[in-house]
Symmetry: C2
Amino acid sequence: MTEQNLQILLASRPVGRPSPDNFEFVHTPIPSPGEGQVLLKIRYLSLDPYMRGRMSAAKSYAASVEIGQVMEGGTVAEVLESRHPDYAAGDRVLSYSGWQAHALSDGTDLRKLDPQQAPVTTALGVLGMPGFTAYAGLLTLGQPKPGETVVVAAASGPVGAAVGQIARIKAARAVGIAGGPDKCALVRDAFGFDVALDHRSPTFAEELQAACPDGIDVYFENVGGKVWDAVFPLLNTFARIPVCGLVAQYNSTGPFDGPDRLPILMRDVLTKSLTIRGFIQREFHAQRPAFYREMAQWIAEGRVKYQEDIVDGLESAPEAFIGMLEGRNFGKLIVQVS
Amino acid sequence: MTEQNLQILLASRPVGRPSPDNFEFVHTPIPSPGEGQVLLKIRYLSLDPYMRGRMSAAKSYAASVEIGQVMEGGTVAEVLESRHPDYAAGDRVLSYSGWQAHALSDGTDLRKLDPQQAPVTTALGVLGMPGFTAYAGLLTLGQPKPGETVVVAAASGPVGAAVGQIARIKAARAVGIAGGPDKCALVRDAFGFDVALDHRSPTFAEELQAACPDGIDVYFENVGGKVWDAVFPLLNTFARIPVCGLVAQYNSTGPFDGPDRLPILMRDVLTKSLTIRGFIQREFHAQRPAFYREMAQWIAEGRVKYQEDIVDGLESAPEAFIGMLEGRNFGKLIVQVS
């Protein structure tokens, strides 16, 4: 039997929480590269919260995945066959090949990886899009100053972990929020946050207040939901709130029950001169070279640590993705495809 | 009978809409200036929406007025008697003397005015705090680019009028929102906005959409309320929202009925990379010299017009202030004290 390509397609749009039947597995012939193309064998697929948005038809910063299309996603691949002058068989590359085992590329989405320099999986996490989201969002928009307090949720995940560690490098206090004692231990002991708090604690809001005796200067928003409610009253005058994700509400369908919190938000925006700023990392692409250089150095110096949660087999991707939206991953979630 | 000083004190804190009995009129002896002080006779008192905040005990960017204290406010005054080396009897000054007919000053709150250069009342409006709020907020935070669409409410008021006219000077389109046909005519015909819309129209939201065929790039927020609901869906990617006031909700006591609009706001902050930024003008005080220079020139060139609504007698201040919070003024509201 000839080897075939496995692809995972978007079969239907989820209403609320995605379910396995939103995905369809298909086997197709492995394509042949045309002139100027390479054939890739996908080694690792990144699973990230933003993919929930791509499954919806709602207008967003990026186009939706169409029904019947391969699910999108960042990948680490090996060049199997090359008809492109810049790539040779055996090259390891970062690509944007999506949820499949093989893919063609014309090279425009590729970046060569050097496995000697760093494990290739880091190109999907701490040295990739999540790490860069943390770096650009925190430094450009959050602008933490020495002694200020930076709070971030999902602090055991790849964005939150980098936010807190970069905050510490900039001499700010880092308060991380995570779900459960194991993740909190990771955030405190491995990533070196000043404080780690479990948002499941019944006294979470009080614990956060106690952990931020001088208030909050930067809240790096990547979850939304009830963490926001605990953070909001603690924001200082001139606090900055970069917003890169709202994973706690991605599965919500709305309308949302009252009371209406918008007037209270705007009142504090006004009286505390708050800055709320949504962003996606590619807006700051000019900073990528600086990011690669600085982050690689911080990792080499042991000042930035990372944690990966690698699940086995492309077939596991839907379940792993659904679980991630509920916080069941432990660190950067990656699928080992082959 | 010797002339006495009339002072208007905060008698009690309003719950919701202020009423005349929140104010108390007292007659006190006219004070004598000590060494280094001047005695001022107040000519004009500025009435501004921010004063509603000072009447409340709630924490804000400035301390509340205490019960029994003179209500705060910007004033134009004449020096009656001076024991300060920099001031002489007859000088016209901008001061922060509050709701009273006479006041002492040690000079720290004073700025000399030249009645030959501009009518002294403009120091309370287009060449004063409201004009500077528009200038600094629009140029520093709003950053309108040629061809972009700038929307502002309370466009017949001193802040809104300046926002729209400065936007036009910067080659942006200015869409002004005001209450009623007379104010809309002022905004369109005198201030030269591209479009003026009446927020009382039953089809206001549709009219705003038609007036902004390319969406909204800058919404200068000074009112809140239902104008926000019409503006919000029209905001473009990377839209900027400087927030300097929320007059439509100052009299609200909350909690606010649902649905909860906060998750929808945050969703669009994220998917449209919006910037929401509260501010008060004094944060930008370094720009004041540039403001005085540029704004005076724009007025001299006829590129910025202004409208004043001058009411007679300090006794009228409470009613005029209460009316302003409901939009009953026509242009910058000023009390002619004497």
